[in-house]
Amino acid sequence: MDIYDVLLRDFPFLLKGLGVAIVLLVALLIIGFVLGLAICLLQLYGPKTRLVQWPLKLYERVFRGIPIIIMLFIFYYGMSGIFEISAFGAAVLAMGLRSAAYQSQIFRSAFQSVPSGQMMAARAMGMSKMVAIRQIIFPQAAIHAIGPWTNEFSSEIKETSLAYVIGVVELTRQAHYIITSTQGNVLTVFAVVALLYFVLNRVGNSLLYAYERKLAVPGFGK
């Protein structure tokens, strides 16, 4: 059986691996989005006391400053004394929490790109802080956030491949199976895998850009 037959036969398993990667990606991006947005809002509009701000800063610094592979090991092996966690769960948690730290900074820059006068004007018109954020600041910040957010999306897709070190059988690991059971063909197999990652990346980014165009207001921000 030559390598192309093997690839054809095992293609469903590569797709299964891609599926695992996508579920991992979506889960970690959701955790990152929710937590990241919360961190950003608290940093910008929350109480300015050290009690609130320092832990947020510490969280963001720690998760941005430690290699993800070490986080994966810490969450999978280190936490096992505290609670039982599956390899997939550990990967979602480690990568999601890290993504939250990154996304908080994406959102921070987007919110800060809205001129501060708008907040003052909204408050002067009698809007509460929450209402002003929701109705005035957020819609403008969202447009600015999508561009940098495509970066986060793209890099997280590729980082999902690291989850194999704790036993999550995703696309890269499936590729390893083919390579080792056929004793080689590294170039061919990884070329196919690279193509799969690339297509996923392109599709995701195209959707995000389309969303960006949809949100765009003619004449605004130009």
Binding site: R9, D10, P12, F13, A27, I30, I31, F33, V34, L35, L37, F73, Y76, Y77, S80, F83, E84, I85, S86, A87, F88, G89, A90, V92, L93, G96, R134, Q135, F138, P139, A142, Y164, V165, I166, G167, V169, R173, H176, Y177, I179, T180, S181, T182, Q183, G184, V186
Partner: protein
């Protein structure tokens, strides 16, 4: 307003995902998780979506013998021993070499195989076992493997032979890297080496290093599940019934199968007499 409502949905989903990850697994032992490195033919690999290999088939035979359910979990080799130590897996079944350092962290079953190491060089190379591992050579080994430990103990750290170890995730990439010329030789066990040569890789054996390394299964230190004795009995049972030889010959035809239990090194505490499950065996 619309935008914020939309963001509530992901928030809910996020909590659900988080909750899902943290649910504890059932406490009752329904089946045992067997950790394997599935990129290590002929011991364990995946072909067409199924686990295959000597360790896989033998483990299934032993599980039948013991009357337990097992489930395979694949992990890269360097993660397997930590996973066993952290009780993420219950049994480790791969071409696992018995070493003194490992025996401090995990408990070995009786040896079921014996390997020697081989120095692999490219087919057209004129290096011999001595010239391949000296004089500024870069030598490939699998990270965390017994070959790496042996090289560090006997060559790199104890002699002034100028050798640099290149550590790989698995041996297939090491052998490919040698083909490209990034390293001049690869040190690997003889079973795997034969596998590469049979697969038509352009490599040959420059020579053997006779270390008589036993391979075995392993469980978490101090055997919290109490399965070491049954595993030992199972290994001996499939050996005596001839099933073991059949399995081995399916993957490596014509190889002479070492007797079980083979040589049990003194430094392994689980090899002190009486060995769990097999009280008549063991070192005095």
């Amino acid at each position: 307003m619309k935008a914020i409502r939309k963001s509530l949905l992901p928030a809910l989903m996020g909590t659900m995902v988080l909750g899902g990850c943290l649910t504890t697994t059932a406490f009752a032992q329904e089946s045992y998780t067997v950790g394997v490195e599935a990129s290590f033919p002929p011991w364990a690999y995946v072909e067409g979506g199924d686990f295959k290999g000597i360790a896989i088939d033998a483990m299934e035979a032993i599980a039948d013998e013991m009357g337990i359910e097992i489930e395979f979990q694949d992990m890269p080799f360097p993660s397997l021993i930590p996973a066993l130590a952290a009780e993420k897996i219950d049994i480790l079944a791969t071409g696992l070499t018995v070493t003194e350092e490992r025996s401090r962290n995990i408990d070995f079953t009786i040896p079921w195989w014996e390997t020697n190491d081989v120095v692999l060089v490219p087919e057209d190379s004129e290096l011999n076992v001595f010239s391949a591992v000296c004089c500024g050579a870069r030598v490939g080994v699998q990270g965390g493997s017994s070959q790496q430990a042996w090289m560090e103990e006997n060559v790199v750290n104890t002699t002034d032979i100028d050798v640099e170890l290149a550590k790989y995730d698995n041996y297939v990439t090491a052998v490919d890297d040698m083909g490209v010329g990034r390293i001049s030789s690869v040190i690997v066990d003889d079973t795997s080496a034969q596998e590469y040569i049979n697969a038509g890789k352009p490599v040959k054996m420059a020579g053997k290093i006779f270390i008589r390394a036993p391979l075995a299964l392993a469980v978490t230190k101090d055997d919290p599940q109490g399965i070491l004795g049954d595993l030992n009995k199972g290994i001996l049972a499939i050996y005596e019934s001839g099933e073991w030889e059949e399995i081995v010959h399916e993957y490596i035809p014509d190889v002479s199968v070492p007797t079980i239990p083979g040589h049990m090194p003194d430094f392994v505490d689980t090899y002190q007499k009486p060995v769990a499950g097999l009280p008549e065996h063991g070192n005095e």
